[in-house]
Subunit: 383 residues, 2 copies
């Protein structure tokens, strides 16, 4: 099996499995209890929190564990908007994941106004349009670190500077689910106020996410109760998920060449396909450019995406058809709408997303399979 759908989810790494086993079989106590084994479970959670903050370059910040990246997005956006004084404007990048885009209804119910800003043709947020929209009434800007469909790396540093200049009171939220540890981040120096990440996209388990927040950012909890996570997210802590998430982050962080390794593999696959498939079109930024994430390659190959996906499955190669979240849906995805790509591009798009377990040899085998499928189905379509 060659698995190239790592932006949908990743295989848990050995370090994550081992850490989870420890949490489930030995340190399974309730971290809120007062006796020794429970205090030890709480300490392990504190260590995991510190490890994740360190991996994000966020030693000065605070981290709240949630049940998913989507929940962390909700805590960041709705949780901060509930604390705004009066009605504010919220600016959201049009290419966001639905976990961010679909907070609109809750924001509007709170009396705020939600506006989106578009992408350029390469999937990168249009800074001119954003700059023109920023003013003192903006309470929050949300822009993802890496687009989940196109791999376009968003200019979060530039956006932070624009916010500082034009609306210094506004908060800046970044959904880092597809970027965390695959694109460099120094949270403490970034100008970001709120940063979402998720365990299962970095070879950790599903069911665990986190929101990193600059100290002093005021949030309302989405889930009330026993007051865990300093009152920001009640419910007995998912100690196994937390342990697995932190172990995976440490495993990735210990591989400083990971950016280059992922990028080299992606470019190998791209070069092979470009040489053999004349109809190939890139969706998103030029894969060789600096605004292309090292691990995501979205290509239209002249064959319907679903057809290619299933043909490749028969060859033992697993790829994504747009974002995993929208596989079961018919409408064009947010990223394709935001960069104003045509329906043709969207319908023939295939997403190759790499993880830390892929090898360069797999890229050659995957390219062979894609080219074979292309030749079969493109010829068939032309008849």
């Amino acid at each position: 099996m060659i698995y190239l759908d790592n932006s949908a989810t990743t295989k848990p790494c050995e370090a994550a499995l081992l850490a989870m086993r420890g949490a489930l079989e030995t340190d399974w106590f309730n971290p809120s209890a007062a006796y020794g084994p429970a205090v030890r479970a709480e300490k392990k959670m504190t260590q995991a929190r510190r490890a994740l903050l360190e991996a994000a370059g966020a030693q000065s910040a605070e981290l709240t564990f949630t049940g998913s990246g989507s929940e962390a997005d909700s805590l960041a956006i709705v949780g901060s908007a509930e604390r705004f004084h009066g009605a504010r404007r919220v600016l959201i990048f049009g290419g966001e994941h639905p976990a961010v885009l679909n907070t609109r209804e809750q924001l509007e119910r709170l009396g705020h106004t939600v506006e989106t800003f578009p992408a350029r043709r390469d999937g990168v947020a249009d800074l001119e349009k954003l700059a023109a929209a920023l003013d003192e009434n903006v309470g929050l800007v949300s822009c993802m670190q890496v687009n989940n469909e196109t791999g376009a790396v968003q200019p979060v540093g530039e956006i932070a500077r624009l916010i500082r200049e034009k609306c210094p009171g506004a908060l800046f939220h970044v959904d880092g689910v597809q970027g965390f540890l695959r694109v460099p981040l120094a949270f403490d120096q970034s100008g970001i106020d709120l940063y979402t990440c998720s365990g299962h996209k970095i070879h950790g388990p599903k069911g665990i996410g986190a929101l990193i927040a600059r100290k002093g950012v005021r949030l309302n909890p989405r889930i009330e109760g026993g007051g865990q996570e300093k009152g920001l997210r009640s419910g007995t802590e998912n100690t196994a998920g937390i342990a697995g998430f932190a172990a995976a982050a440490q495993w990735l962080a210990a591989q400083p060449k990971r950016f280059e390794t992922l990028r080299a593999a992606k470019l190998r696959l791209y070069a092979r396909l470009r040489a053999e498939i004349p109809e190939l079109r890139v969706n998103g930024p030029d894969p060789e450019s600096g605004v292309a994430a090292p691990h995501i390659l979205n290509l239209s190959l002249g064959v319907r995406g679903e057809v290619m996906l299933h043909a490749l499955e028969a060859e033992g190669v697993y790829v994504g058809n747009g974002s995993a979240c929208s596989t079961h849906k018919r409408e064009m995805s947010a990223a394709f709408r935001a960069m104003n790509a045509g329906r043709q591009a969207a319908e023939t798009a295939v997403r190759f997303s790499l993880g830390m377990m892929n090898t360069i040899e797999e890229m050659d085998a995957a390219a062979d399979a894609v080219i074979r499928c292309y030749k079969t189905y493109a010829a068939f379509q032309r008849r």
Copy 2:
């Protein structure tokens, strides 16, 4: 180690560990993806959902997985209250867990009025007071199945009948976190509309809960996004947590004598302590009565709760000091306030909560340890 704090959390059973291992090591794909291994992961999730519905006698109902019991409570209460037409009254049992009690602020922000109804001296909800409060303006009643501190089994059948009689349009939510599979339940025949349960209280993993809802009950999601769980709870599904939760439920459900086994063990412990500790007072219902849950025994033993807890820890016996959620807090807990117990009772309360891994022999050893600690510290206090 004799672990008697199973209402705080339980040790995961072998069946749960095995199921989680399968989900993490083999079926780790994203259930939303379109290829074979992902479809298999989705099927396993469907099987787990059915197993849990069956364990609750809820074959006609729907089940939404959440990240915790607290989140399921929030989905049930805030999620339904957002759909009410106009301002309504919400009646909440005063002895509820904070996950239910603390939804008050969100309900009030929605324009609803929140009122609580008290317990009798034995910790059971006062039905006369509730009946007097019910009228056509009530939109929701929430009453737990088993109190987490006293083990008082609440009259949910009676409450369902009162609602049908006095305000048939109102929804009835039951937090079953402490009752699920330890007190009989036939959801489909119960008159309950919404039922919360949690994995880690039944020897499953932490970080997974569920809301069971009668078909036709309309809810808003708390967490928006990719539309998982029929749009009621977005975020990639916690497939390992789900598998472990269902496996634990099946393991419990396969032990039909579990109610009697737990009760016999609890009564053995109670009889030994009552015979030897003259100052013993029961907090909650008479442990021998039908309104006492089989697995929870809350006693005031004339020694401060924290002192007893740590003295017992030194003997290898782990017990709870009130509810695990309030260990770090100083104020009197909800259950003690609701039944109007004195401060003295609250300060000297120790909660013994049993799980499916406890044996009757452990009860004798635990009783010996409690009696030894009592003799040491009660004598010390009297000096």
